[in-house]
């Protein structure tokens, strides 16, 4: 019989274990079938040497005692538990995240129905407004025109719309969380493990519960996935920026009798702005990194083309779409860096 029989015999649990079930519906391995019919290598199993001693895992213990759960019942139990909690969770989370769906839908609709000769000048105006650099403006215009020239305008704009919405929400939620973390040490201690987890968890893993929680045809599915992944740097750098404000400056602010609110808006946030902007830059870059994975849960845009390239081994399609993502990344990076440089220059003067 099995190696760990003695454990159950010694504990007097043999009766609890019971006989192996004879239900024809229960899973049964080929070895068990052969052993049952006595055709397996002549009766008793060969004695196991110490060298081959199996680890007392759930499956090994199940061999000795049929009532002991097998390890597959662990995954099954997890699944069942999640499915039971699912209805309550989606009841709360569904309405809460509905605005995200609306925002993504209207952004995608808006950017695609507006003619290109309005969208491109708007993008140019934004570039000029934040960077005030003729060189950058020319670069952005040429890149977008290049993408449009090779008929990737629609895909690129879809990707851009998704990133704008997600990055905006990341900043909207992330900066206040960062400020709260900078003000309370215990909140910081609690939040850092969560942030670490969000950053290291493979993005595919948190797609799984999301698929179960929400309808897969809703855009918020990929919205949440992108936001969870991309929100981390803006929180971290806001926290860090505010904590790094020179204590002497804070002392001076206190000496002037500033209230906490005045200190926050008048001293801490302005001085932490370069760090916060660096966080925004990283957040935008990370949401761009999620574009291809988000396309697996039906996000439109350049990611779809990359996936098509992979699935059909259409090398050209994949490469062009990948290059398009790189161009978008360079544009967004340069524009945010340029605005960061402007803020730095203003503070120096």
């Amino acid at each position: 019989m099995a190696t760990y029989d003695f454990v159950f015999d010694a504990l007097g649990l043999r009766g609890w274990c019971g006989e192996a079930s004879t239900d024809t519906d229960a899973p049964m391995s080929m070895d068990e079938l052969l052993a049952q019919s006595g055709g397996g290598g002549g009766g008793a199993a060969p004695a196991v040497s110490l060298w081959e001693l199996p680890f007392p895992s759930m499956d090994a213990l199940n061999d000795a005692c049929a009532a002991f759960p097998q390890s597959r019942e662990l995954t099954q139990g997890l699944e069942r538990g999640f499915l039971n909690a699912k209805d309550a969770m989606s009841f709360v989370l569904d309405p809460l995240t509905q605005p995200l769906s609306w925002a993504l839908e209207s952004a995608l609709y808006g950017i695609l129905t507006t003619p290109w000769w309005i969208v491109i000048p708007i993008l140019m105006a934004i570039t000029w407004f934040v960077s005030r650099s003729w060189g950058l403006l020319a670069f952005v215009t040429l890149s977008i025109a290049g993408l449009a020239f090779i008929d990737h305008y629609d895909y690129a704009m879809q990707t851009l719309a998704i990133i704008f919405v997600c990055a905006f929400i990341c900043v909207l939620i992330g900066v206040p969380i960062g400020i709260a973390m900078s003000r309370s040490d215990s909140f910081q201690n609690g939040a850092i493990p969560v942030l670490d987890m969000l950053q290291t968890l493979p993005p595919f893993v948190y797609l799984i519960p999301l698929i179960f929680l929400f309808s897969v045809t809703e855009p918020k599915l990929y919205g949440i996935a992108i936001i969870l992944y991309a929100i981390v740097p803006v929180i971290r750098l806001t926290n860090l920026g505010i904590r790094m404000v020179d204590p002497h400056v804070m002392e001076a602010a206190e000496a002037f009798g500033m209230t906490r609110r005045q200190k926050l808006y008048g001293v801490q946030i302005p001085l932490a702005l370069p760090n916060i902007m660096a966080g925004v830059n990283q957040t935008i870059m990370m949401s761009l990194a999620m574009v291809v994975i988000a396309s697996l849960v039906s996000a439109p845009g350049l990611g779809v083309l990359v996936l098509r390239g992979i699935r059909n081994l259409e090398l050209g399609v994949g490469l062009v779409a990948g290059l398009g993502i790189v161009i978008l990344a360079v544009i967004l990076d340069r524009v945010t860096k340029a605005s960061l440089a402007r803020i730095n220059a203003q503070q120096k003067s």
Partner: protein, 224 residues
């Protein structure tokens, strides 16, 4: 060397609705019925992900029958996983669902689906539909794809008995799907599923074997 077609009728593809929906509204089993009542199927056609062969065929069919004119939205899934999940969650909540799927697969074994009649199977039209940006897409249902057992000529020389057995081995696509569903439900591995098949589908496999082998195997199972 081709020996036999192992699955009867073969790999099935098509557009499906849940059977409970078909029972409630029998008119939905034809394409015309669906296009007249788009709300009854949830107003959405669940399409294949980009890059799949069926996506090309579906897109051409959608153009040929002008599906979107009936008020149905075509939702292009990002991956096979979301396509399957949309079907699974709709089925579990008894909601309407309409979309593409193929078998033998776990979801088609697990969920009772009814195939929507698109029209006659016309191999020529179907071949035309498999061409992206086809000029004149037509209407043709999906023909069943043959799934073959093949062996090397070497094996046929060396083990004629095994090849004879493989030549007789064939089963229904539905059986395959329900076995896959059993495997999924019990988190079983392939070997355990094989045992389950041997113990519960005697009618299916007894025709594959010669008399001596059949008696051997039955005796083995009887003892168990």
């Amino acid at each position: 060397m081709r020996v036999n077609e192992v699955l009867v009728p073969g790999g099935v593809e098509g557009w499906w609705i849940p059977t409970y929906l078909a029972e409630e509204h029998p008119e939905l089993t034809t394409l015309e019925g669906i296009m007249e009542n788009p709300d009854l199927v949830g107003g959405t056609f669940n399409n294949c992900p980009d890059g799949w062969g069926c996506r090309v065929v579906n897109d051409n069919l959608i153009r040929a029958i002008d599906l979107e004119s009936s008020g149905l939205d075509v939702f292009n899934h990002g991956s096979g996983e979301t396509l399957a999940t949309s079907m699974a969650s709709a089925y579990e909540n008894e909601e309407p669902w309409f979309g593409y799927y193929w078998g033998p697969t776990v979801p088609l074994g697990q969920y009772d689906m009814t195939k929507v009649e698109i029209g006659e199977v016309d191999p020529e039209v179907h071949a035309r539909n498999q061409n992206p940006d086809s000029d004149n897409p037509g209407v043709s249902d999906f023909p069943a794809a043959p799934i073959l057992t093949s062996v090397t000529a070497d094996l046929a020389d060396r083990e004629p008995q095994v090849v004879e057995f493989l030549g007789k081995m064939e089963w229904e696509t539905d059986t395959m799907s329900s076995l896959l569903a059993w495997m999924e439900e019990n988190n079983a591995n392939a070997e355990e599923t094989a045992v389950y098949f041997l113990r519960n589908y005697q009618d299916t496999w007894s025709g594959w074997l010669n008399d001596a082998a059949r008696e051997n195997l039955s005796a083995l199972l009887q003892q168990g």
